[in-house]
Symmetry: D3
Subunit: 223 residues, 6 copies
């Protein structure tokens, strides 16, 4: 059955914003190394960085009808997360849909398929992380669903989960865990700052992390 | 038999130029969604955009002899389109050949193989869409052909066909259809402009395109 | 047995620097078209170009312990070259390790696996050529080795070999052959300069290289 | 946190057996075309066909410790379903583990990674669907989890879900939906039998399915 | 525009049969090494070998409606050749369609997409060469065309061309060239028989083909 | 410089035979998990299993001239190991070359490229492990080398090294280490036999290997 779930819970915007500042690698570590989308998901231009609430789409291959349906569900600060029922590289999304998204406060797209008009999207700074760039258009013939749990690029995403994305890729944070993950990520960042200073001064990780005895125990030989 | 076809028909430069302004995604739609090369064909730098007349090359794997032969056939506004008889990532083309192309008015390269010297090509703004970037050189031992129909990255290209290429990929337009496709592409662009304004004002595609009744007929449930 | 080889021979810095100026494609040609790493090794940002002495790492999949061990062996002008014992896309290296490398004079990383924090690495201009960009972290559980010969992206690299890397990819030059390869590469560059001028003036490669008789002998037909 | 869930619910064996007789393609259709694992999951020998209850494993890359832990949880009629936290082709499973599985009534393995000893597994008819065949061994250093929901080859699998696998690939059926899906699959099979007879007699699908008017409406031209 | 071309010319069945006996590698050589489909096209079971007249299909992604249309055009000795307008791994074809094909004398399928029910197809010896095996079903929503020229797995196929397929892959022979190619292929086979006898007796190719002087000229050193 | 090294050292045939009996997975473990070729190297038919002395070939892309040169260097019990200077899927080797190999006592081929006539090779039981099956022929224009160290599918192979290959893939054993590796492999096999019996009797690996305390130490929770 094909459904559109209209009321979804979202995370407090301050928490979302905080996660975006931490970035993908830090957030992924902070939540125990889970939730990372496959590394083939790449940004269409370098330097984009965001966190946002997921509005999910399960779409048929080469059919973008549900994108139109989903945009009606978008609120300010949301990002579309599109998974397909069968693999496709087609270009589901381009500058007209980006215009519509921006008019409604939508901030980006995560798509396990293709995107087009990337030159326009780059100029208007509408960030997209995708599997492919492809001019191939889509049809509007077959239903899908909006705001159901989807598996996108190997990761399970529920509507309202927080998506963190930057040049390192894309990570999903469960809605109920977002506040806790943010706290851990910020602690991690603070710790890293101190280590960065020591490393910049020429200290070795071998010494900072006290690795030498365990290396010797495991049998590493210096020759 | 290996041949070089010396006289090929080209499309009126004004039509070629017009297609270039429309871009790949619009042209591909306008001609009924045919002629797109595979999405693995990517530009060596972002922002390049052109349309040009194809001078085609069928080359053996890792052998760029026919590129030299083809350049003699290039006129101002032409682009080389190279297909191979067996898959290869080797670097068939670099800055010396680009210098030669530019001296003859050639404007770019589409190659279902590798290219090298991409730093130089980027600085001199010689655009290339390729399957790979690869420093591996080629030999000059085996003949191929110039200006015969070739299948390049999954698309059939005849000499004199119009190549449209930008950040979205590469599309080929049949020579005899170019004027008609341009007219359709320009109409399409005009229509899109009106839609863009409505979408930017916050209207939904669901309403602009009148999609709601058909979604209901198909059985989409809002919950 | 897992070892760290502490004393390796390096090439005269002036030779290394000279190879870097020539670039990958020229050096690869000059040494007889050997030593090229697979074309899937791509820079994390465009425009990086260097030559450096290899400090090699053989690491288990998803385990970056040996990177910490290797950094202690790094001297000014060195580059890390990491191969894995089983394929992995994980992010072995990020901004903290880059800070440590830079503190010791290390100039870059070649990794047949993943890298993360690429936005930071781009800002601080720490160049990396990798198979993947991936936020996935690694563990520190299993030993590997440092400064043994490794096969990285299909090429054999010995510690102290010269790595040349730029937008065209990555090439390795044997330590004992570096001076000879530099001489050949510089000769090649000089020759290319003369050819470039003739090609820019509109002469054809067919004539400059005297290809016409051999093409005719092989049976190429002009029609 | 790493956990082993010891008590999982399983589907009535008669239902599981019924699903196995229907096969992957029929079951996938019957449940509305969901639950299919990626098509890169291939059997190690042709002709295997089964349905079984999933015991799930989330394992680190190149680390098969959790397989040993999971086998203790296996009951007669169970199949292991292994997903990894980072992509790996390593051989997590071979003939010793298959011997252990068979001793406990386990009937197969679905693994989004590699398998080895495939010659032995073929001879003893222990079926495996995998991403790769690879002799590379694994370590036992890092924890994972057993019987938690996992994403395996793009599909979400809960412990106790029914896995259906044959030469067409692998499909997962939710535990709560298994009885209903079986009924639909059996109905589908009955319908297909009637159609098969008519098609074998030379009737056309165009007529059996009444497609001609709709093709004409859409504008298909016979020339 | 979507069309079904109803009257196509076919090659004399005796010629088709002769090409099938020669096999893909011999035919490909005999016609000057052209017409080979990409090497990812693999048979669903080993040992199949045939030649047949092509009935071509250009189909939308994940939509097999045109297969039903095409089967009406099939005559005894024909093979379907399906290309898609956008890449797809979906299973366009299964045992019901194979039953229908066999009822009309169709002998196989070449498909640059997926196939399913491969266990049934293997048992009934209906050979298929495909890009993927995949249980994913397709829809019947969008038109395509039948018996127009298509690019299938990188090769141009016209309706009525001869398809030769075996364990080595798939090759297409132009209809007008089939008789000539058969003659050349048979000559080639006769020549190979003589060479095979000499090689089996222990003579070296170096001597049979007189390669030694040319190797010496090129500079090969024996050490 | 292109060379043919005529005198290479080989391992005692009894040791080679012993390694073949142990198989790839056991040998790979026994020598410390090194020497495995990439997992894309697959046998052309199931069930082949051998060990043999390597005669190595470094060949240009799509050029099999050096195969003819190498066969003269083959003695009874040798296997050809072919690496290319640039990636290629072309079919370097077919039934005529296999006939020649068999006449000289050669027992197989490892090729990081394509092979053809696989139906004939299967019937005459000439085993090949390759990256691709492809009918595309090759030329004889460019020199390579025979019996120099090569990197084949990511592994370094010296002439005279022992190649072990079976359904699990391909592994190389250094000549000087072969006797030692055989001893370790045989010990390993003996140990496995005892474990297999205990596992077949229903004992768990968790108990046989004493894993429970370490799992508890690491923090695994049973719920």
């Amino acid at each position: 059955m094909n459904v559109v779930v209209q009321n979804i819970e979202r995370v407090d915007p301050a928490i979302v914003e905080g996660l975006g500042k931490c970035g993908v690698s830090t957030v992924h570590e902070a939540q125990g190394r889970k939730g990372l989308l496959a590394s083939y998901m790449r940004p269409i231009y370098p330097g984009a960085r965001l966190a946002a609430s997921a509005v999910t789409i399960l779409a048929p291959p080469c059919d973008n009808w549900m994108v139109h349906v989903a945009i009606e569900q978008v609120r300010a600060g949301d990002i579309l997360v599109l998974a397909t029922t069968s693999p496709s590289d087609a270009g589901y999304f381009g500058d007209l849909l980006a215009t519509s998204m921006q008019a409604r406060g939508g901030v980006g797209l995560i798509i396990d398929a293709g995107v087009r008009d990337v030159s326009d999207l780059t100029q208007t700074r509408f960030p997209v992380w995708s599997k492919a760039v492809c001019a191939q258009g889509t049809v509007k013939e077959t239903l899908g669903s909006v705001n159901i749990p989807v598996v996108c690029a190997g990761a399970l995403v529920h509507p309202g989960d927080v998506i963190v994305a930057d040049d390192d890729g894309v990570c999903v944070v469960r809605r109920a865990e977002a506040a806790d993950v943010l706290a851990k990520a910020q602690t991690r960042e603070a710790n890293e700052e101190a280590k960065r200073a020591r490393l910049a001064a020429g200290e070795l990780g071998l010494d900072i992390y006290g690795m030498r005895p365990r290396l010797e125990d495991k049998g590493l030989k210096y020759v």
